[in-house]
Structure formats: C-alpha cells, structure tokens
C-alpha cells in the first residue's frame, strides 16, 4: 500500500471523527461544511475519471448534479418520497443523459469537446429553469427528504454525514478498481497516446463513452445527496460556473490520482469559505472574494499545476 493510499485512509478516518468532535465543541457548522465538501468530492471524483484519467476536458459535468437533484426534487414534489426510487432515478437518469450527450460529444475532441459539453449543460439548465411548476430559476424547497424506511433518517445531520462519508469511500474504492482494470487502462492509454492505442487495435470511442456514462451516473448520485443536503432544489447547481469549480477541484488535488479530487475539493471550498467569511480578513477582501479567488486560480494554473496529491509522490493507487 503506497503513501498516497495511507494518507487517504487517514484523511477519511479524520473525517469520520468530525461529528463527535463537532458535537463536543458545539460547532455544527463544521459538520455541515464537511458534508458539503464530501458531496462535491464525490462529484469531483467522478469528473476525475473522464478528465483526469481519460483526458476528456468536459466542461459540462455540473449537468449531472442537476439531473440527480431534479430527479429527487421533482419526485418529492409529486409525493414520491422513496429514497430508493428517487436515487435510482437520479443515477439512472444521469446515466441516460450522459449517454445522449456523450453519443454526439465524445467523438469530438479538443476545443470542440469543451464547447459542446458546456453548451449541452447550458441547454439542460434552460430546460430545468423553464418549468414554472418546479420553481423556474428560483428553484423550490424540497418537499421532504428522501425516505429510506427505517434504515436511515437523512434529517439527522450525523447519520446523513456518515452516509455521505460511506458513499465517498465507496465511490473512491469503485473508482480504484475501475481505473486499474482493463477498462481503466484503455482509458488512460487513449489519453496517453491515442494514435498508439488505435494502432494496437483499440478504438477509444466506446470506452470513452462508457466512462462518460459512469462518471455521469456517479455525479447524479452526488446531485441526489446535494438536494437532500440543502433541502432546496435550485437550478443554480447546474450553472456552468459550477462545472468550472468541479474542474478546479480535480486539478487542484492532482490529476489522475484517486485522492486528488478530495483534497482539491477541500482546498477549493475551504479557500472559498475563508475568503468569504474569515473575520481576520479585511472587508475589501471578503466582500469581493471572487476577485481574489480568480487571481489565485489563475496563478495556480500558471505556476502550480501538479496539484496537492502530486506533492505526495508515488504512481498509482
């Protein structure tokens, strides 16, 4: 087991300690914050599969957060509260949408792929916003949290927290198996050298499309978690800037490493939180934190590309 894996397990362990610590110090805010971070870490990890390992610069990944959230929100609005059903639809629906979008997009590459994935996300955003019944661009409150009949109560902050942590760990484990499997190697090979991949007899397209669908499905789950976390369904979750944030979460942590997205999400969201709310910072920073965030992000891209996980050596995990 290499260094990175050990560190990851340690971090997950620390995350498991947050609820009791937060209770002990009476700081429920941190429970909320870290739960939010973990949900985004799941989304970012799914993006890492296609972006990090696959080299597919998808600028539309937030769409699946939206599909997942809307699956839950819309069903709840119509009185269907079974978590099993809602979350199955969130995952399945996202997979289908990813399949539809991927079918036309994955064939393209480079600048085209970036623009196309962005455009389709925007299309879904407009689609979601057009439904007056579901709150149009203001969104609406979640009628009731997903119900899991006696198994778990998502209204209980701690239980929900541990569920998210478990799902994050599960996602990371699944992705670990995936990227090291035959399938995962093809994806990585296609990114490393596409001409060579075709020359040995592998056509990247079907594998990339499959990866695209899997990534979408996992992100759909994150969307379902998200809407339960905020108890509010808002089309803002599909905002294209959200897609940009997801990409940053992936690269800040280190491309093509399993733990990268978690660290990247922690880094980005904590940075945003600090810039917005840390009392030690002057007003002219916190009021216009996006300005400083923008500058920091540009500097990171220009000068610190390897990301955080890159600092902890090792090859694969």
């Amino acid at each position: 087991m290499n260094r990175r894996t050990v560190l990851l397990i340690a971090v997950l362990g620390l995350l498991a300690l947050v609820p009791p610590l937060a209770a002990a110090f009476n700081q429920p805010f941190y429970l909320d914050l870290l739960r939010r971070i973990m949900i985004f870490a799941i989304a970012a990890s799914s993006l890492n599969l296609i972006l990090g390992y696959g080299g597919m610069v998808s600028f539309g990944h937030a769409a699946y957060l939206g599909v997942g959230a809307y699956a839950v929100g819309v069903l709840a609005h119509h009185g269907i509260h079974s978590g099993w059903l809602q979350w199955a639809l969130a995952i399945g629906g996202s997979a289908l949408v990813a399949l539809a979008i991927g079918a036309v997009s994955v064939r393209t590459s480079g600048i085209y792929f970036i623009m196309i994935t962005l455009a389709f996300t925007q299309m879904l955003y407009y689609f979601g916003v057009s439904f007056q019944e579901y709150g149009a661009d203001d969104g609406m409150r979640l009628a009731k949290r997903s119900q899991f009949a006696g198994l778990i109560d998502l209204g209980d902050a701690t239980s929900f927290y541990y569920l998210v942590l478990a799902l994050l760990a599960l996602t990371l484990y699944l992705l670990h198996r995936l990227v090291n499997s035959r399938f995962g190697l093809v994806i990585q090979a296609a990114r490393s050298n596409e001409a060579r991949t075709r020359a040995i007899g592998l056509s990247p397209y079907p594998y990339r499309l499959a990866a695209f669908v899997i990534a979408g499905a996992i992100c759909g789950l994150a969307g379902a978690l998200w809407v339960n976390h905020t108890a509010y369904l808002s089309p803002e979750i599909m905002n294209w800037t959200r897609s940009g944030e997801l990409m940053f979460m992936v690269i800040l942590g280190g491309i093509a490493t399993l733990s990268g997205p978690l660290y990247g999400t922690l880094a980005l969201l904590l940075l945003e939180d600090v810039l917005q709310g840390w009392s030690a910072l002057p007003k002219w920073v916190t009021e216009h934190w996006q300005l400083y965030l923008g500058v920091i992000l540009v500097l990171v891209v220009l000068y610190a590309r390897r990301g955080l996980a890159g600092l902890v050596g090792g090859r694969h995990e």
């Binding site: 064939r107 196309i116 455009a119 689609f127 800037t241 300005l291 965030l293 923008g294 540009v298 891209v301």
Partner: protein, 304 residues
C-alpha cells in the same frame, strides 16, 4: 407577415452581434489553438465603458471610440500578462486560467459599478424608427447594428483574403513554426489577432448595451451562444462564424417568437405555454447536436 419580417430582422441583428463575438474567438481558436473563456469579459468591458463614457461625455461617438480603445487595451494587457504562457499549455489549463479571469473581471466590474444592471441609453439621433417598407417600422438603432455587423464582415473578409496581415493569419493557422522561421514575429502576430478579437468583442458589447442588460456576468451567457455558433460554423473560419452566427441568430429569435403559437395549434394552450419557451431556449443546442451528428467538424471548417 409584418411580425415575421420584424422577427427576421431581429434574428439578423442577433446574428450579426454573435458574429462580432465569434469572429475574434474563432480566430484565436484556430490560429493560437487557445480556448479563451475571458472573451465574454471583453464584451462586458465594452458595454460598461461605452455606457460610462456616454454618461460622462455626452457624446456617443466619443464614447464608442473610447470604449473600443479601452477594450482593446484591456485585451492586450490581459494577453501579455496572463495569456501568453497559455498558448503552449493544454486546453484544460487554458479553460481553467481563463475561467479564473472571468471571476476576476466580473468582480472587478461589480466593484466599479455594482452588481445591479445599469442603464445604457441610445443617443437621440439613433433612436426612433425607420420605415423600411410600407407598414414595416423597425428601430433605427437595431438596423444600424445590422449594417455595422455586415460591414465588419465584409471588412474582415477583405483583411483576411486580400491583405498581408490576412495572409500571415492564414499562414499562421496552418503552420506557425514555419511562419516563425520565416522571420515573422509570431508573438506580435498573436497579440494583433487577439487585440482585433478583443476590439470586436468590445464592439459587440457596446452595441448590445442598450438592448440587453448591462450587468456583471453578461458576457458568459453570450459566450455560450458564441460557442454554439463556432461549433456549427466550424473552428477557425470567418465564413463559418458568419454562417453559424446568422443561423443561430435566426433560429433562436424566430424560435422564441413563433414556437409557442405554432405549438398552440397542436397542443393545449397551457401545454404550449410551458413547452414553447422551454423548447425555444433549447433550440440552438438541439441544432448544434444535429450538426454534430452529421458534420462534427462544422459547416465551414477552416481548411488545413
């Protein structure tokens, strides 16, 4: 019929503005192989500068000149300071860095002029209507936009096809190492191309001011439409940008105007009421999907 003619002209006007944005962007894509999300920010800068200078000086023409010069300056400075190093980087880095720039610019504008939309006015001599044909009255301002846009299209065609600069642009698009080896200052060429793109974006922005909302973030919404234009038209070609822009402008405008009533003939009014606008807003993306399915490289891609 009058309504149709009016909407067609509106479609043309939107198309022409999208073209102004798309032309600069597609050249940067094609020649420098760089994704530039901050293009929308330049559009926004143009709109804000024009509004500001018009209010300050009272002279619309002066405001236009200052806004164009200002946007050009902002564009060139940004290119030299932040974007130069990105030409060599991969697309992911370019997307992320220019994304950071968007956050920066939007907030900068918000600091200077606040987050609420500001009011941008048309000068008196450009307001009012033109009677184009009997019974068809069209806003003079919008008509002027159409003329300006078409004029720019002709001008660009002339520059690219007939001048030395245009030749360098086309050469740089197919083989930049060779062009550099021939002693042409590639860096300068890139800066010039980028500057032209910035000026065009600024022009689009200042023209758009009075018609659309002038607020932080206005650039990004247009930018996504411009992406659709470029995908449909093909990367790297002015002709593609024009074709794509006019198509997108028409489809979007006519769709929004006529889809609901058209649907109402086959669906119930309430169904048409919600389905109409929903589908209308998705129309250009669906069109993009169709084009992609059949011609993934766009309608008029730059030949290599």
């Amino acid at each position: 019929m009058i309504l149709f003619a009016e909407q067609t002209l509106n479609g043309l006007q939107l198309g022409v503005m999208l073209f102004l944005m798309a032309a600069g962007l597609t050249l940067v894509f094609g020649i420098m192989n760089m994704v530039n999300l901050a293009h929308g920010a330049l559009y926004m800068v143009g709109a804000y500068l024009a509004t500001f200078f018009f209010q300050e000086t009272g002279s619309y023409l002066l405001a236009v000149v200052l806004a164009l010069a200002g946007t050009l300056a902002v564009g060139v400075v940004t290119e030299v300071v932040a974007l130069r190093t990105l030409y060599e980087r991969d697309h992911l880095d370019q997307v992320l860095a220019t994304f950071g720039l968007i956050l920066f610019f939007n907030e900068l504008i918000a600091i200077l002029w606040g987050r609420a939309a500001i009011y941008s006015s048309v000068p008196a001599w450009l307001s009012g209507h033109l009677e184009l044909v009997a019974g068809l009255r069209y806003p003079l301002y919008r008509f002027v936009i159409i003329l300006i846009g078409l004029g720019v299209a002709v001008g660009l065609w002339y520059v690219v096809a007939r001048t030395r600069l245009g030749m360098l642009i086309r050469a740089g698009a197919s083989n930049r190492t060779m062009v550099a080896a021939l002693g042409v200052n590639i860096r300068l060429l890139y800066t010039v191309v980028f500057g032209c793109g910035a000026a065009l974006a600024g022009l689009a922005g200042l023209l758009a001011g009075p018609i659309y909302a002038v607020q932080p973030g206005m650039g990004e919404l247009v930018l996504i439409q411009v992406f659709v234009v470029i995908v449909i038209g093909g990367i790297g070609s002015i002709r593609g940008a024009l074709a794509g822009a006019l198509i997108v402008g028409m489809v979007d405008t006519l769709g929004r105007a006529f889809l609901k009533p058209m649907l109402a003939t086959v669906l119930s009014p309430t169904a048409a009421d919600s389905a109409g606008p929903a589908i209308a807003s998705m129309l250009i993306y669906l069109l993009m999907a169709v084009v992609l399915a059949f011609r993934p490289e766009g309608l008029f891609p730059a030949s290599r």
